[in-house]
Amino acid sequence: MSAPSVGETPQQRERAVTIFQKGAPGRSAFVCPEIDVPRVDPLVLLPVHLRREQPARLPQVSEPEIVRHYVRLSKRNFDLDSGFYPLGSCTMKHNPRLHERVAALDGHSRLHPLQDAGQSQGAMRLMWNLQQSLAEISGLPHVCLQPSAGSHGELAGVLLTRAYHEDRGQQRLKVLTPDTSHGTNPATVSMAGLEVVKLATDAAGGIDLDDLRAKADETVACLMLTNPNTLGIFDPNIAQIAEIVHGAGAILYYDGANLNAIMGFSRPGDMGFDIVHFNLHKSFTQPHGGGGPGSGPIAVSDRMEPYLPVPVIQERPPRNGDGQPFLELSEDRPKSIGRLRGFHGNYGCFVRAYAYIRSLGADGLRDASEAAVINANYLLARLRQLGVEQHLPLAYGQLCMHEFVLSGAPMKRELQIKTLDLAKRLLDHGFHPPTVYFPLLVEEALMIEPTETETRETLDEFAQAIADILAEAKQDPEIARTAPHTTPVRRLDEVAAAKRPVIRQQM
C-alpha cells in the first residue's frame, strides 16, 4: 500500500482482494462437533472410488477475517437504506425492518416445508390470507404463490395460456408483446416454446391499436402487457385492447411489475386481464438483496384456474379443535401445468409481503400508490421548473403514473454527454442513477421511479443534482464523461470483461 494521496478516497486506495486470496493454512472459523458415534473406517462407509480426489480449495480464514472481509465489501455497495435509488421499473421503496423481524421468528424461519399440515397451520393461514389479499388487489380470484420471481411468474402464465388453449384443442403459438415490454417477457415466451410478435407503440405511448388489430388472430395465444407500461403511461385504450384480444380468443397477461402505480385505484382483473404476476420484491417491499430473492405469485381468472401449478392450498373443515378451517396443500389437479419448483414458493417473502399488506391495509395501499404517483409527477414538474426538460424531455405524454421516462437524445446532441455519463456523474452526487437505456424505443432513455417512501426534500435534491450536472456539462462535459470520480472504483471496462471472461478467482 502506497501513501494515501489526497486525491484518492480511502476506498479507492484499497485494492480488491478476494476471500480466496486471504487467510493461511490452518486458519478456520468452524469447530466441527466431535464424532460422537462408534468409529467406523470412513473408507468402508464411503469407498475411495466415490470419494473426491482434488480437495475443494475453499478459503482458510478465521472468523474475524471473514467478518472484516465482508463488512468491508458491504461498504462498497450503494444501498437503499443510505440513499435515493430511483431505479425505474424496480420500485425501490423502503424495506421496513419489522418484516425482517417477523420473518426471522422461529415459527416462520425454522419451519420445515414438509412439516405436517397440523403443525404448520400458521404458515398455511398466512399463505391463504396473502392469496386472498392478492386476489382482491388484482381483481383476479385465484392465486398461486409458487413462482420464485417475476420472470418465473411469467413462465407460469405463458404455460397456463398454452395449457388453456391445448385443453381446447388449439395450437396457438404466438405471443404479442409491445416493444416497450421488459426483456423477461419475450425471453419467457421462447422458454415456453412460443413465438414473440412485437406490437408497436402509438404516439401517446400506448399500444398501437391498428397494429394490435392486425396481429390479433387465432394464432395468438396471448398478449403480455404491463399497465402502466414501462413508459409510466396508463394505456387509455385498455378496454379496447382487452376487447380485441379476447375477441381473438386469446388471453390477456398482466406483467405486474408496475402494480405500485394503481393499488386501490384500478385492478388488472377489472381491466380484462386473465393472468397477472406480482413482484413481491417490488410492490410489496421484499428487499431486493442485491439481486434476489424475489417472489412472483400469479393471480388468474376463473377460466385459467384449472391449469394453475401445484400445489395449491385448500380449505377443509376444522380439525385442530380451534374452529378454524384446516388448510392443506394439494397436488391433486389433473389439468395443472405441474410444478414450477420445489416446495411451496418463497415463503420468507410471503411473510414480508403479508406483513406489509397488514401494516398498510386497504387505505394504506391506496395511499402508497397515490404518493408514488404524486412523487413521480412532482419530480417531473420539479425537473421542468429547473429547465431540465430542454435537454431531457419527457419521452411521451405530459403526466405520468409512478414513473416516467426522459430522453437523453437532446442532451447528447447539445451537451455532448450521454445518458450513461449523466448516470455515472449522479454517483458522485451520492444518488443511484435511474434505469438507463430502457425502454429500448426511447433514445438515450432515463427511467425514473422515485416511489412513495421518499421525501420531497430528497426529490428536490435529486432534481437539483441533475440540473447541476447539465450546467456543469455546459462548461465542461469531460467531467461527466469521465465520471464517476469518487466511487470505490471508477468507470469499469465491461467490454474487456466480456471479451476474455475471468469469472472465478485463479488459484
Binding site: 479507492q12 480488491a16 478456520s28 468452524f30 464424532i35 458415534v37 472410488h49 466415490l50 473426491r52 475453499l58 478459503p59 472481509h69 437503499l80 417477523v102 421468528l105 425454522r110 419451519l111 420445515h112 412439516q115 405436517d116 404458515a123 393461514r125 420464485s148 420472470s151 404455460l159 398454452r162 426483456g183 385498455i238 378496454a239 420484491h281 431486493h288 438483496g289 442485491g290 439481486g291 434476489g292 401445468i337 410444478r339 420445489g342 416446495f343 415463503y347 420468507g348 411473510v351 401494516s359 398498510l360 391495509g361 386497504a362 391506496r366 409527477n377 414538474a381 403526466l399 454517483l427 434505469t435 420531497r456 466511487t487 471508477r490 469499469l492 471496462d493 466480456a498 469469472i503 472465478r504
Partner: protein, 445 residues
C-alpha cells in the same frame, strides 16, 4: 406538491390518466392497516401455530435441511448494504455485491470441480429444469433420460418446463436404491439430448456418478446433468471429476434457513463450452479507468434484457442474498472444516442406519453408502408410525411415498441427519420409532 404538478388533487392526477371504465371506485376489501406492534403480534401468533425445527426434534429433510447456520451469516445478510440494493446495474457502486458473486462463483466451481458457474438461480428443481433448456439450446435434441433417483419435485418441475420448451422425458428406475445401470445404458441413445441424475439421490443413496456419466457418454452424446447436494461435495467425488457437464443443485444447506421451503438459492455450474449459454447473472473481473481491479456483470448478451426472445433464459431477479449466505457459510466451514463435517455426517448417518435397522421389522432400503440421509423401510403404515412418533415429540422424517406417489416406495421413511442431530438425538429417534412400529404392528396384528 400538487400545486407544483399543476393539479388540485391526487384524484385529478389519477382521473386524468385512468379511464373511468377501469377505475376501482371503492376501497379494497382488505382489513385496516395496523401499527408495527400489532402486526408483530399477529405474525407472532401465526408463527406460534407452526412447530419449528427449534422446538421439535426433527429428522425431516428431503431437500431442505436443518444445518447450523453461523451467526455471521445473519449479521451480514441483514446489513443494509447487502439486503437492500437491486441487482448491480451500476458496478461502480456495487463492488461489494459483485465481488461476492465472483467469490461465490469461485466457491461453486471449487465444490463442483467445474470451471464456470453463474451467480445463482432460483432454487434446486428449477435449476435442473433450466439446465434442460440449456441442453436443448446446445444440441437441439429433445429426448431427455432421467433417473428416478431425482427428487420428485425436480422431476415434476423438469416435466413442466420440458412441456414448454419441448422435450420428451424417459424415466429410468432404480436398483438397490440407485439408478439401474443397465436400464440407464439402454435408455440413452444418439437422440438423447440430456441425461439427468441426482447425487446423492433423493433416497439418500450415493450413486456411482462416474459410471453413470461413462455409460451416458458411451450411448450417445448427451449433456450429462447432475443435481448434487452441496454439503456432500467436500468428500464426494466432484461432478467435474465424474465427467459431468452441468452440475446444479439446491443451495439451502449452505447458509439457508428452512423458511418453509424458500427463499434459498440454486447453483449452476458447467464445463467451459456452456459458458455462453448459461442462464442468469455472471460476475466477471475487469479493471477501472485507473487500472484498479473491479467486477461487473458480464456476458450479458446471453440475457433477457439484451437478447430478449433469443436469451438463454428468462431469469432476471435471482437469489443474490441467499448466495451471499452460502458463500459466507462456506468460508466459515472452510477447506478442512467442510471435509470434517462431511465425515461427521457420514458417521452419524451410518449410526442412524444401524440403530434404526435394529428395530424389529425395520430394514434398510439399500446397501449403498449414504451421507446425511437414509431411507428405511417400515413394516407398517408410515403415516401411522409418524403420527405416533410426533406425538412422542420426535418427527422421524419424511413419508417417501406421500411425496413420490410411487407404489414401490410404500413403507419408506426418509431420515435426515445433520450436525445438529447428536448421537443422543438419534438414540431418541430409534426409541420413538421402535415404540411406534411395535404399536402399529400390534394394531395390524
Amino acid at each position: 406538491m400538487l400545486a407544483a404538478i399543476g393539479v388540485s388533487s391526487a384524484q385529478e392526477l389519477f382521473d386524468a390518466q385512468i379511464p373511468p371504465g377501469v377505475r376501482l371506485g371503492r376501497a379494497l376489501a382488505l382489513p385496516d392497516g395496523m401499527g408495527e406492534q400489532e402486526v408483530y403480534e399477529h405474525l407472532k401468533v401465526l408463527a406460534q401455530r407452526n412447530v419449528s425445527a427449534e422446538e421439535q426434534l426433527s429428522f425431516l429433510g428431503a431437500g431442505m435441511y436443518d444445518h447450523y447456520v453461523p451467526a455471521i451469516v445473519d449479521m451480514l445478510c441483514e446489513r443494509s448494504e447487502f439486503l437492500t440494493p437491486y441487482t448491480p446495474y451500476q458496478p461502480e457502486v456495487s463492488q461489494g455485491g459483485l465481488q461476492v458473486m465472483f467469490e461465490y462463483q469461485t466457491a461453486i466451481c471449487e465444490l463442483t470441480g467445474l470451471p464456470v458457474s453463474n451467480a445463482s438461480v432460483y432454487e434446486g428443481p428449477s435449476a435442473l429444469a433450466s439446465a434442460g433448456y440449456m441442453a436443448k439450446l446446445h444440441n437441439g435434441r429433445s429426448r431427455f433420460v432421467v433417473s428416478a433417483g431425482l427428487h420428485p419435485h425436480s422431476l415434476r418441475t423438469l416435466r413442466t418446463y420440458a412441456h414448454g420448451y419441448g422435450a420428451e422425458i424417459v424415466e429410468v428406475g432404480l436398483h438397490d436404491g440407485i439408478t439401474d445401470l443397465d436400464a440407464w445404458a439402454q435408455a440413452i441413445d444418439e437422440q438423447t439430448g440430456a441425461v439427468f441424475f441426482a447425487q446423492p439421490n433423493f433416497y439418500g443413496a450415493v450413486e456411482d456418478a462416474q459410471r453413470l456419466v461413462e455409460l451416458a457418454k458411451g450411448g450417445g452424446d448427451p449433456v450429462a446433468i447432475a443435481q448434487v447436494d452441496p454439503i456432500t461435495l467436500a468428500i464426494l467425488r466432484s461432478p467435474g471429476e465424474c465427467g459431468v457437464d452441468v452440475a446444479v443443485g439446491e443451495g439451502q444447506p449452505l447458509g439457508g434457513r428452512l423458511d418453509f421451503g424458500g427463499p434459498s438459492f440454486g447453483f449452476f455450474a458447467a464445463r467451459e463450452e456452456y459458458l455462453r449459454r448459461m442462464p442468469g447473472r455472471i460476475a466477471g473481473e475487469t479493471v477501472d479507468a485507473d487500472g484498479r481491479r473491479g467486477f461487473v456483470l458480464t456476458l450479458q448478451t446471453r440475457e433477457q434484457h439484451i437478447r430478449r426472445e433469443r436469451a438463454t433464459s428468462n431469469i432476471c431477479t435471482a437469489q443474490a442474498l441467499n448466495a451471499l449466505a452460502g458463500m459466507v457459510h462456506l468460508a466459515w466451514l472452510g477447506r478442512e472444516g467442510m471435509v470434517q463435517l462431511g465425515e461427521l455426517l457420514l458417521a452419524r448417518t451410518h449410526y442412524a442406519r444401524q440403530r434404526l435397522c435394529e428395530i424389529e421389522g425395520v430394514s434398510v432400503m439399500y446397501e449403498q453408502p449414504a451421507i446425511r440421509e437414509i431411507a428405511v423401510r417400515l413394516p407398517c403404515e408410515v403415516a401411522a408410525v409418524r403420527a405416533r412418533c410426533i406425538a412422542a415429540g420426535v418427527n422421524p422424517g419424511v413419508d417417501v411415498q406421500a411425496l413420490t406417489g410411487r407404489a414401490e416406495d410404500e413403507g419408506l421413511l426418509l431420515v435426515a441427519i445433520t450436525e445438529r442431530r447428536s448421537r443422543q438425538d438419534i438414540d431418541r429417534l430409534a426409541q420413538a420409532l421402535g415404540a411406534a412400529v411395535r404399536e402399529c404392528e400390534g394394531v395390524r396384528v
